[in-house]
């Protein structure tokens, strides 16, 4: 790749990559700009002045339905999903280190949870609850639907982590007289902590933005993506963009905080070890 051809290839691909990044972020940045549209502005350019009018509008009940409530529900649901995903994936990751009866089946079941179309999960859980005579709600059936989406990712990440995890550290700890719990708590856990934070990030963001699986499982009260989807059919003002900007900034914030946490944890571990 040091040849002339190689460098030409580099520039062509670098250009292609830049186009791809532009394609990813271009649309998002326009709604970011348009959410600062003046009070008389519309859904497209040109900007009719600059204001935060539409952000203020977001918090008026009549303008956008139940933004506050759905936002709160989505955050609570996201936190519930994250906690369960991290704990269950970690346990499953530990379990999959040994071969046990049914381990292959369970693993493929987890994978198929990713492959089965979301609308099927949504319909299935909705019908399942209906047949049982239980009323669906975002914190029960909705939570279950989200877990079918976040757990496979968590399990796959933990699977990859433990596949590359040298048992030498645990053997050393055992040789030094550590109990299994001490080995886990002081040796294994600190080493896989950054990956667990990653699993948590996946769990939260996937749940926070989940739409198709929530559709039939949320019950009476909407989560934020359902609320936004409802708005697309009846809201024709830039308040829609303001909402988009707020939730996207929130997602970015979560990602940023998590990545910082991973780096800080990694550095601290590097200093000690």
């Amino acid at each position: 790749m040091h040849s002339e051809r190689g460098s030409r290839e580099f520039y062509i691909l670098a250009f292609f990559f830049s186009l791809f990044v532009l394609f990813l972020y271009g649309p998002l940045s326009t709604i970011f700009i348009l959410s600062f549209q003046g009070p008389s502005g519309g859904l497209t350019f040109p900007m009719n002045g600059v204001s935060v009018h539409w952000f203020g509008n977001l918090f008026e009940q009549q303008a956008v339905g139940d933004f506050g409530g759905s936002f709160r529900r989505s955050i609570i649901l996201g936190l519930m999903t994250t906690t369960i995903t991290v704990v269950v994936s970690l346990l499953a990751g530990l379990a999959f280190r040994r071969k046990f009866k049914g381990s292959t089946f369970l693993f493929y079941l987890a994978i198929s949870s990713l492959v089965v179309p979301s609308i099927l999960i949504s319909l299935g859980i909705g019908l399942f609850f209906q047949v049982l005579g239980i009323r669906p709600a975002w914190w029960s059936s909705g939570l279950g639907a989200h877990l079918t989406w976040t757990l496979p990712f968590g399990v796959l990440i933990m699977f990859a982590v433990f596949n590359r995890f040298s048992p030498a550290y645990e053997e050393a700890a055992r040789d030094l007289g550590a109990t299994p719990w001490q080995t886990f708590r002081h040796v294994v856990l600190p080493m896989i902590a950054p990956s667990l934070v990653g699993v948590g990030l996946f769990g939260f963001t996937l749940s926070y933005d989940e739409f198709a699986r929530t559709l039939m499982t949320a019950g009476t009260f909407n989560t934020l993506p359902l609320e936004i989807y409802g708005m697309t059919t009846n809201v024709t003002t830039p308040v829609l963009y303001a909402l988009g900007t707020v939730t996207t900034v929130f997602s970015f914030l979560i990602i940023f905080i998590t990545l910082t946490a991973i780096i800080v944890v990694g550095r601290r571990r590097g200093r000690i070890g």
Partner: protein, 309 residues
């Protein structure tokens, strides 16, 4: 994703290729603790994946009227679905979307991953660029769909600049609320599902294989087609499974971006659901599931992805 997470746990991150399965402790020594640790996952997947799908299978044989559904054993949900010309046309349309989106995401995803894996030398830069590609994946799909409106609309950016430049006399109507818009949005939403697994496999390719091919006189193109692409197949296969199942089951993108002018299997199901025709939707769901599983089985037959896990 798995690769980044995994990289953090190894202290010797010098070499990309690592001995595998070192983490397995005492094979075969299944103990009570393994079962206890696997129980929560099994319970959750059993309750919210296995039983719901079995329920769909059961309800697909039930009877219904406009108000409620009745336990029964009838097959007309299937015969009506399979006997209807609309179903077949909808499947054809869905498969058309799937093939187009799959080809586009595979080509774009491969070159993006290739650039990241082989042309970016510093590991930090690689991680930063990879994260730039991954972050939009963690934001709302619906917002990302809406964000095309100011671009593609009748008074959108593309139309107004085309008119200003004198390229077209009046606004192009096909940009928004068309099949073009559906494909564009799907490529926008799903390419990341290709980039990540392909990047993951490309990073594991032993660089000395490429050196060897070059020493043996292979041209850059031959290295690509005879070394890199064959070794990248598992990644391409995993990405394909993701993209194909996402597009096959999609209904939101089709509904929103086509403005109700196009059909897909998912959309047909969601319409039946909103009309409370659950048994019909369930029959459709069973058929869709069979089709999707067949496609996945074919991919798994062609490419062995097990060593990727």
């Amino acid at each position: 994703m798995a690769a980044i997470a995994a990289d953090d746990t190894t202290t010797s991150s010098e070499s990309v290729v690592r001995p595998r399965h070192t983490g397995k402790v005492r094979r075969g020594g299944a103990s009570l603790s393994s079962y206890l640790q696997a129980t929560p996952l099994a319970v959750i997947l059993g309750l919210f994946l296995l039983l719901p799908i079995l329920t769909i299978g059961m309800v697909s044989f039930w009877d219904y009227d406009s108000v409620r559904i009745y336990p029964d054993f009838v097959t007309f949900n299937y015969t009506e679905t399979l006997g209807s010309w609309v179903t077949w046309k909808t499947y054809l349309n869905t498969i058309k979307f799937t093939v187009i989106v799959w080809l586009l995401t595979a080509v774009i995803g491969f070159w993006v991953a290739y650039f990241l894996a082989f042309h970016i030398r510093s590991a930090t830069m690689q991680m930063v660029l990879f994260l730039i590609c991954t972050v939009p994946f963690l934001t709302s799909n619906i917002i990302r769909m809406i964000s095309w409106v100011p671009f593609l609309g009748r008074n959108g950016l593309i139309n107004s600049s085309l008119i200003q430049l004198g390229i077209v006399p009046k606004a192009l109507e096909f940009l928004l609320f068309s099949e073009f818009a559906v494909v564009l949005a799907m490529v926008h939403l799903y390419t990341l599902f290709m980039v990540t697994p392909i990047f993951n496999t490309l990073m594991r390719i032993d660089r000395s294989l490429i050196e060897a091919a070059r020493d043996a006189g292979a041209s850059g193109f031959q290295v690509l087609t005879n070394v890199i692409i064959p070794l990248a197949k598992p990644g391409i296969a995993i990405g394909s499974i993701f993209v194909i199942t996402l597009v096959m089951g999609d209904f939101v993108t089709v509904r929103f971006m086509s403005g109700g002018q196009s059909a897909s299997v998912g959309l047909m199901m969601s319409n039946q659901i909103s009309l409370l025709q659950y048994p019909a939707a369930a029959a459709n769901a069973v058929i869709l599931l069979i089709v999707v599983l067949l496609i996945v089985a074919v991919i798994l037959r062609v490419v062995d992805i097990r060593k990727e896990l």
